[in-house]
Symmetry: C2
Subunit: 320 residues, 2 copies
């Protein structure tokens, strides 16, 4: 290998990002089996859901992993192994009164997701979680649609903050290897004191490749999900990352086990992965929501009409 | 982009490699529509099948694209556009009496596939096709399972031969970016007078990424197939390559059109793509045949048992 690979940490976000597909409708037993499998596989972190407040996001018809009540998590996973637990929060959707000190919570890591314009708010939250004793990350979404001077200003603030890890998030799954290389260099230059993470989407079948390239470029936190489960085109598959890493800590076999038992039947009921409307939104560097709407309609395979609509100038105003 | 990208040629091998999935059971109209779509998309070559001899391979229950009779091809595609036609032959399965001079054939390019041990035989065939006026390639299969000094000796012979293009074929879909980088350097060093091609398989979701890396490293012939159709995990999707290339020659829209009309219904009947037993054979650098056998059995989703069988030392003798 020509590039430097450091010791990485694998963060499986199946339940959290997969929940975006099924409204977090995972049974307690399902989540327990996923934790047990990831733990046997040597995975470093399992992201068990969002820790948003039910007062601040829609809670009707939504599973408990959307809110991650501490007592409930302890009930589901009474005995943690070496695999740590994380939850993610969105800026503006978290109630600080819901957050216990880290030593009273089953959660080890809280991640803050934000758009670039909300970095100041996100760093306030990071500071709060950090003071309570949590590990923290800041996950900058939609980085492919930002102005570079905004990104640089944000990275300089991040570098001054207590956050442990700054994440590059390819929200639209539109980035190629060279784009990740470019962004990693920006992150290294403007936040040199931080560790870095990567969260890739698979619209262009680049999620695994971009994650490997990141690992080879010094990024240490690698997000993945079992069978790639995640919104729209999904994520970098955990089984591919574990099959690649040579570190004896990792073992892919338990992931194949839970994949066979839980995820093959689940994929028969709900869809994610390489599905052409998401390829098209990725190629156009667009949010997948228009593709998701198409897939829920009767025209779900009308790819050419969708492509035409997405590439016609008059409709561009409505794309976010 | 940090690396040098030259003008590439896209070679769509949907009918040829896809035929390995359905025994070349494509109707004439299907193949005509594929040609018409690739032509409208600006694709440089369409590989319409094998040109093996029905006397030398099993012909019962096998569609006509396995043999590519010249008169038959002319009947299906009476008017060629700028998209050239190619066929592939296997060493030992071609009857030289079947081959017309190039100026009497609809075929422009004949590719010779071989294992490293058969390079001398392959180069004899290349010479024969070259003398008849065809463009030629040599496609070295299973390059990940060869000894380097054998590969170097073969490349030196290839460099002395009249062949136009030397292909790197990732038969087992087991190669990562760094492996392609390594091989491309070997090819460039030991066959410096030749153009290069790449044929990637998608067992590890690396086919597109490896193809892009190859293009960025000076490889000019890029194989792909619509919706990735091809044996086992399939190939680099044509729609991803065309969506990436900025050259105004290419237009992805006609591929989405034929994908929607022909390939979505076809994929409902037969399978290829990211299917876990092929992930496992890719991770183990094995031929996918054991995975294909599993998928035809009642145990088709018994991934863990398959993984155990494939990684148990006693069974290794039987793997090819």
């Amino acid at each position: 290998m020509s590039k430097q690979e450091q010791k990485v940490k694998v963060l499986d976000c199946t339940i959290r990002d997969g929940g975006l597909v099924n409204n977090w409708d995972f049974s307690e037993d399902f989540v327990r089996q996923v934790y047990s499998s990831l733990s046997a596989a040597g995975v470093d972190y399992m992201e068990i859901g969002y820790k948003n407040s039910p007062k601040l996001v829609k809670s009707e018809g939504v599973g408990p992993w959307r809110f991650c009540d501490d007592a409930f998590i302890k009930e589901v996973i009474p005995e943690k192994t070496k695999t740590k637990l994380s939850a993610i929060v969105d800026v503006g959707r978290v109630d600080e009164n819901d957050i216990l000190p880290a030593n009273e919570s089953p959660l080890d890591l809280i991640r803050v997701a934000c758009y670039l314009k909300d970095v100041d708010k996100a760093l306030e939250l990071v500071k709060f979680f950090h003071q309570l004793g949590y590990e923290t990350t800041i996950n900058i979404m939609a980085v492919s649609n930002s102005m570079e001077y905004d990104l640089i200003a944000a990275l300089e603030k991040i570098n001054q903050s207590p956050v442990d890890v700054a994440y590059i998030v390819d929200s639209f799954g539109s980035l190629y290897n060279q784009d990740f290389e470019y962004l990693i260099n920006k992150f290294k230059t403007h936040a040199p004191d931080k560790a870095f993470g990567v969260h890739a989407h698979n619209n262009l079948q680049m999620a695994f490749s971009n994650t490997l390239l990141s690992a080879q470029s010094g990024v240490t936190f690698l997000d993945s999900s079992i069978y790639g489960m995640g919104r729209a085109a999904g994520n970098c598959p955990t089984e591919l990352i574990l099959g690649y890493l040579k570190d004896p800590q990792y073992n892919v076999r338990p992931v194949y086990d839970v994949l066979e038992k839980l995820f093959i039947p689940l994929r028969d009921k709900i869809e994610w992965g390489y599905i052409i409307p998401y390829t098209i939104t990725g190629q156009l560097n667009e949010h997948p929501r228009s593709g998701m709407a198409l897939r829920k309609s009767e025209q779900k395979n009308a790819f050419t009409a969708f492509y035409d609509k997405m590439t016609t100038v008059e409709t561009m105003d409505s794309n976010d």
